[in-house]
Symmetry: C2
Subunit: 589 residues, 2 copies
Amino acid sequence: MEQEKLSHMRHTLAHILAQAVLEKYPNARLTLGPAVDNGFYYDIDFGSDKISDEDIKTFQTSMRKNLKKWTAFTHREVSKEEALKEFAGNPYKEELINEISDRGEKITLYTCGEFTDLCRGGHLENPAEEISSDAFKLDRQAGAYWRGDEKNKMLTRIYGLAFETKEKLDEYIHMREEAEKRDHRKLGKELDLFMFSDVVGKGLPLWTEKGATIRRELERFIVDEELRRNYKHVYTPDIAKLDLYRKSGHYPYYKESMYAPIVIDDEEFMLRPMTCPHHFELYLSKPRSYRELPMRIGELAKLYRYEQSGELSGLLRVRGFCLADAHIICKDAAQAGSEVNGALDLIEYVCNVFGLVPGKDFWYRLSLGDRANTEKYYDDPQAWDTAENELRKVLQGRGVHFVEAEQEAAFYGPKIDIQMRDVRGKDNTAFTVQYDFVMPKRFKLNYTDSDGLEKEAIVVHRSSIGAIERVVAFLIEHWGGNMPTWLSPTQVAIAPVNMEKHGAYAEELATKLKAENIRTDYMDDDDSMGKKVRRAKSERIPYTIIIGDKDIEAGTITVQHRSQEQGEQTTLDEFIAKISKEIKERTLG
Amino acid sequence: MEQEKLSHMRHTLAHILAQAVLEKYPNARLTLGPAVDNGFYYDIDFGSDKISDEDIKTFQTSMRKNLKKWTAFTHREVSKEEALKEFAGNPYKEELINEISDRGEKITLYTCGEFTDLCRGGHLENPAEEISSDAFKLDRQAGAYWRGDEKNKMLTRIYGLAFETKEKLDEYIHMREEAEKRDHRKLGKELDLFMFSDVVGKGLPLWTEKGATIRRELERFIVDEELRRNYKHVYTPDIAKLDLYRKSGHYPYYKESMYAPIVIDDEEFMLRPMTCPHHFELYLSKPRSYRELPMRIGELAKLYRYEQSGELSGLLRVRGFCLADAHIICKDAAQAGSEVNGALDLIEYVCNVFGLVPGKDFWYRLSLGDRANTEKYYDDPQAWDTAENELRKVLQGRGVHFVEAEQEAAFYGPKIDIQMRDVRGKDNTAFTVQYDFVMPKRFKLNYTDSDGLEKEAIVVHRSSIGAIERVVAFLIEHWGGNMPTWLSPTQVAIAPVNMEKHGAYAEELATKLKAENIRTDYMDDDDSMGKKVRRAKSERIPYTIIIGDKDIEAGTITVQHRSQEQGEQTTLDEFIAKISKEIKERTLG
């Protein structure tokens, strides 16, 4: 089914829902009922009535029964007066009618299956035939302010799911259930990885010991990998004078995303929203030669960007985050192209470590500017041509499939976006590599070339692993909480069957594992062995070592992986060799 | 010579300087001339005259000559009118006289060697006999606002150095020269470790690749060491709602040191001045049992504290810094004592890695409260007794010498300060371990004890390596820029004698060293070998590998340490084994 038809089907179902509601609650006042990307909803004022789950079931049964009679839509244009008469006593519809009239638009009423609603159209022609009665389902109810404004009355929103077929509906419900189980906010709490505090503030996560371990491992992994690739890692301040962002042009252009200034001794300082101007100041601290280029300046940078409190969501949308950021100062377009390619190599390397497959788990988008829109994009057609061709050549050279997207570039140049689908089925830009020919002008990022002339550089902005907060959220959901051993907060649990008999041996093992830098939880409480193993599994600890009589006799250990039901006997040395290799090589699973 | 007498001597010399100045510049207007901790100065208004180095020499010669006549001080009390008459035409002295009179104090004039000055006294009785003419020296001149207020006129301040004996003066001058050579601001620039940018802001260092390497190594060192000691390392936000600091009581108590709030959606957020309340929020995220205590919550925390722009100094006094901070939640006083002891173990371990010797390079101070001063110190005499006894017992138990300092405690409890002398001969508190019985009350830091009762915890605040910025400044000065190999930004330089003949072999070596994670600078330019070796030494690179014909023939390398004049022949494998051990064991030198 094409997208438009699906949308018409969903909107049609909103009408059918409204009819079912009125059958049971004739005094309910209807407001608006649009299609959304998984179905439809209708916002309804039920007055003092409370809607129960039983009601929702009744509505659904009525909808399926009534659907048979919905064989053809008719519509008619009416005068404002006529419309107001039709919906007398419903202040919401009255408000809508007055607005339509004020805008000079036509007022239309749509009727089908003996039910009439104020509507602009967009339905199926023969719902009874075109809608399969098992391809939709009422989902849930929630509160919603009239027109989304919290100053208005709270209405009841009834959500329905609707797809082309029952199979597609079931598939969606299954994906959603999986996504809910894997939701990083839920798992973050269950696995004690991070928390929020009202008195610290919204969108500002506090990482517990366990979450901090994941974060530290990721940070060291990416810094070490970048150092190996000859990045110069630096530290620059998280605040700077407003002047710096005026110089870069981010202010006032980017003002909406920045927090209010902090006044120190009559000067205004800002929480930085990006690292570029900080790195440029380092570059400018002395004269530079072509021999120093490309110069890859990298930093684990804390950044602060404004998000509305309603937009905040776990670690995915936060107010302060830590970006593995870098700016590569290049001699010219060709060098920039080669550095973009190198950045993509690094990104693919990182994705590979996480087990993400190109083409399947992520894909490329070439985001282009628009020569005609000089307000949104810097006005230099030739520079745009050069830059876009360079990026296109890079992608072609890699032999990867990519889509080109107009109007998706940054102000200062085109970019390559690495797109990923999350567990909710939503596509996001995970990483970006940008080509920038504007900042070098603004900051005078020059160098002396081999011919002795002073020339203007090109800058490549890139991230390798993205924002640590987001990547941790992504990985938690991707793996459903089962982090690979190298990223697991606790790597081994030691569960003696009987503390009195096996405790001393178990403690000795724990000491040995810790000496090998293996994160070990020695379970020295009096819980039963079964309970300890279950606890280790619920904490997603990769390995549990069980110690019983047989082990002490034989000088062995019994190791059970979180994915197994049974343990295997081995020696401590063998186990240490195996797990150390797994950690060092960042093995998945 | 006792301190008071030394101070009298220095103040006397200020009088003698004033006399010498007036001999040459009769119209110069004297203002104030106090003793300072290395001598004395006198602030003088020379009108339109500019003072040259030649003048300074003349003053010094006159002083030495005149000193012989300074055999006895006399003084007399005068009326305000008399005094004003004596200093007619000198607005500075007039201002001082009026102020003394307004305060109802006596106005006294002191005379010696035919020179009279307005003065409160504090001189030697017989300067000619008591001052050795080679134990003082005029040092330099500088501008100074009248009374330190930049709205006032700029005066000329002439500084003199003065000690008991010529030997002590020479010793001081030598120490100061050494300190200047080792000044971390100077070395930081020479060795390209960090920089400041006016447009980023004062007191906000930007760490270059090289400085960042030192910092990263230190950060990983201390985090890994703390993890080994069962600290729970966390990450908490660098900003928080003002409410959090109201809850902790830091605001408004600590307001002077905090920056102005940042407004986000009508809420006020602060750059955090400390980590305590952040860690307490983590502690409070769930109910706690005595089994979880002591809980050592550690963080590399970015903190922001107000410093006046005149107080800022390189990395030593900055506006934002990164503290290796921790808060240890303890069951009771005994556990707190044991944790304080553990924190001192860690601090001594860190000092030992830096080659600092207890008793020589650092020493202990027990900083106590004052039961009578309930405004400065929390009012709970019994808690103070318990806490102070516990800390005293810890120090006694370690068998170390320590001094007790009244009135040096924090508001919330006594502390142990680790004192260090810097290259300037100044004593500073390097690290602090604090005992806190107030925050647990304020934050309700409770736990369920083994008897099932809810009890109040004790908190130990401590740092292990202090603020990263300060410790880097200290270490640069302590080692005069010669960082040990594990902390050196570049660990090995490779200098081929002739690029064409030895370049390929040298590059191969560089690749092998880098693969072993040894930070290597392959000097592939056309400078002479001698120049390359000098460059490596000036950059304080621990080892330079020189590659010539002989090395290629024999398959060896020639290694020269920065402290040596000659290289030694060895093999690459042997060298890698040696330097890897040195890095791993953090060997000094």
